[in-house]
């Protein structure tokens, strides 16, 4: 096992390098340029635009730019944002806490809803509870977050006036008042994201538990007279967790990467809104930095998932 992990880690480095090269080339080829706004502004002569392009080295060959980027990255220099004219790491660090809080909480909410509901629904397939849970899940993933977010705003901010819909990082209060305000503004975005995620998790959990619950050893355990709760926790859930772990590992990078649509709706200053505004402004260094960190997390979490499989099902062997 240890040898296996070591080998995977060693492979991870070149594979990340490969991913970074592909990302870089893709961004360099993608249409649009960071100084587009200057082009539509007749007050700015083309020479300034050219000077900026030269200054930021945009007209150099892609491969040279990649090597330059890589060398800088290895020294801890994340690049320089064209749009804000400051260092990229500064921009990203300002936003990490908010994203971790909002998206992280929504993932926890999703699991907290999906695990019990999914397991309980699977234990009594086609019961009333199962039908209701399913219907809610279907509604959950039929409606996109841009829609549910707006619906919540209309209900809770505009009609009832209970919750604010503009997310502020700097609430002018301290202590409990601050915590309360922060909590109030976070309810809607966390619910929108969390319930959307919970809807699909619920379906997966239900399906996974259904797969396991009819296996022979579960029947055996039951026939041995173990009580139902114990059977479910010890034998069923553990084995049903494999797909759930896979899904959670797939979602974890998003806790860093943010949720573009939801952050946009509630004006949450997270990584997702940074990424989308960078993309719309063609601010390549920012896009590259965010996607590269995201790529690292994808690789790490998928590796973690592989390791957890072995722990959940000791018969899985790695060679």
């Amino acid at each position: 096992m240890g040898k296996y992990i070591l080998r995977r880690l060693i492979i991870a480095l070149p594979s990340l390098l490969g991913i970074s090269l592909i990302l870089f080339v893709l961004l360099a080829l993608a249409p649009g340029d960071p100084f587009g706004e200057l082009a539509t502004n007749s007050n700015v002569p083309p020479e300034v635009r050219e000077a900026l392009r030269v200054k930021f080295g945009i007209d150099d060959p892609i491969f040279i730019r990649y090597l330059r980027w890589l060398a800088a990255m290895l020294q801890g220099d994340w690049g320089f944002s064209f749009a804000s004219r400051i260092d990229v790491d500064q921009l990203i660090l300002q936003r990490v806490p908010t994203t971790l809080f909002v998206v992280g909480s929504s993932q926890i909410l999703a699991l907290a809803v999906a695990l019990p509901v999914g397991v309980y629904a699977a234990m009594r397939p086609y019961s009333i509870f199962d039908q209701i849970a399913n219907t809610f899940a279907f509604i959950g993933f039929s409606l996109p977050t841009f829609f549910t977010g707006l619906l919540l705003i209309l209900i809770f901010s505009i009609n009832l006036g209970w919750l604010p819909f503009v997310y502020r990082v700097d609430i002018p209060a301290t202590g409990w008042a601050w915590a309360f305000e922060y909590f109030k503004q976070a309810i809607m975005p966390i619910s929108v994201l969390g319930l959307f995620q919970a809807a699909s998790y619920t379906r997966y959990v239900r399906s996974a538990v259904l797969d396991v619950i009819r296996l022979d050893y579960v029947t055996t355990a039951r026939s041995k007279g173990l009580n139902e709760g114990k059977v479910v926790i010890k034998h069923v859930v553990r084995n049903a967790l494999i797909p759930v772990v896979t899904l959670v590992a797939l979602q974890m990078p998003a806790v860093f990467g943010g949720a573009i649509v939801t952050e946009q709706i509630f004006r949450i200053p997270g990584i997702g809104s940074l990424l989308i505004s960078a993309i719309l402004a063609n601010d390549t260094p920012v896009i590259m930095a965010v996607t590269f960190v995201f790529a690292c997390l994808v690789v790490v979490f998928n590796l973690l998932a592989d390791i957890i499989y072995g722990w959940l099902d000791p018969r899985i062997s790695y060679r």
Binding site: P31, G32, F35, I86, Q264, I265, R267, P269
Partner: protein, 596 residues
Amino acid sequence: MQERELRDLIADVKTGRLSRRSFVQQMIAVGLTAPMAGMMLAQSGVAMAQTAIPYKPTKAGGGGLLKILYWQAVTLLNPHFAVGTKDQDGSRVFYEPLAGWDQEGNLVPVLAAEIPSKENNGLTEDGLSVVWKLKKGVKWHDGMPFTADDVVFNWEYARNPETAAVSIASYKDAKVEKVDDFTVRVTFSKPTPFWADAFVGTYGMIIPKHLFADYIGGKSRDAPANLKPVGTGPYVFVDFKPGDIVRGKLNPNYHMPNRPYFDNIEIKGGGDAVSAARAVLQTGEYDYAWNMQVEDEILTKLEGAGKGKVNIVETGNIEFIMLNSTDPAAEVDGERASVKTKHPLFSDPAVRQAINLLIDRASIEKFIYGRTASATANFLNAPEKVRSKNTKFEFNIEKANAILEAAGWKKGGDGIRAKDGKPLRFVYQTSINAPRQKTQAIIKQACQKAGIDVELKSVVASVFFSSDAANPDTYTHFYCDAQMYNTTMTQPDPGFFMNQYLSWRAANKENKWQGRNVSRWQNKEYDEIYKQAEQELDAVKRAAMFIKLNDLVVTDNYIQPLLRRPKVSAVAGNLAVPLSGWDNDLWQIANWYRET
């Protein structure tokens, strides 16, 4: 409108028969800017009006927190790098120019003690120099005095191409020198009728020499003050998170008495225009929201909540359709839409005329934009008619059909007209933006009824408006038959604006599609008049030439104006906000206050 008519109008303003405001409105209607109109009046001896901006509070402070919402967030705070209006507005909270432009084209002094004129010896007869007197006793936020050295420094800073300032055009052809501690002289290399560009308005904000002197040229990006502005403005910098929020607090040493009213200010960014409107008009969570590109129907509904109102000020922005005069399908010398080709359909004037008749401007205005735009066919009707409701645009499907029929375009079996085997079918593109897509739908349907088949195409704005030479979907490539966008005229001098139809400015492969003549429309007469206008010193004669230029463009039907787009914002009911269409939204932020 001829020069003589212009002179008559100016004479009317002089004698008081015509108000300054309606003169300015007429000039805007013929395609000029309010600042240009103001310059014409000033040169003809009508003094700039002393704009009195209403302000009631009798002491500074006490107003609490002013919450402003921008649906595009401020990304930087150095006014010389500020490209978008969001960044210019963010900078305007902390930095100030010598003077700003009000809605009627008057210069309003800010850091200047007075506006230069012939009477105060600020202006010379030859139009070669301007002398600005600076306000005394102004202090930077860090306590240093504001002097002529700072003003001269801004010129050195911005004109250096290495600095890569977006304000370079206002400074590179001038020379600025210090006369004494509170006087500077701006000298031009050639007589310049439009003298109020440097140090005025959007590109005129002044940054402090003592903090930026070491960061001129290539080092400009390293200045710490780029992110922590120290200005002369009514609010002192507190905090800035690029792409999210800007915060400031009251400047106790502000150079205008009893100002500002608010103790704190914040500009929050992000989201979309509709929800920004909701936050001001419906819930009152915010006090001011910028640039309401929202269907009027929604705005009206939101106003019903009674929390705020929509504020509309006139600008020179025009939404228009451009028909390609070249053939986007044919490739000549490695580029499409080459000026060596002619468009197969639009080269027939009857087709252009028919399309003009098929644009239902009245409905587009009424049902899509409402108060947030006004239909216009022609920048160039006689002034008294321009603002009236029955301008000369016409929507007439039968007439369009008749014109096409007469020109030999006959309907085929599929209902599409054709002539010499060429079907009347074209592609019409624009950027992605809900009102634009609805406009497309309305025009497409009318064309269909006249036997013209229109294929709609929409390109995401970040690509459409980019200067990427490799991408064929940008508006400057114009590899398409027709396109629609909004041309902005924030530059006070229309000279910049009008060069977009010069033959030698045609966008092509050679200039990497940077040429400003996107339609590739070519006209010898236009080129000649433009050359004359460049030399012309007399502001009135020059204005008459610009009007003639506009006339040439529009009557040829390659360029079809649709709507004038004013500046629309949402304002809390009790907030007094002096706005101007010729300067930034926050140009008078020091004079904002809440009615009690």
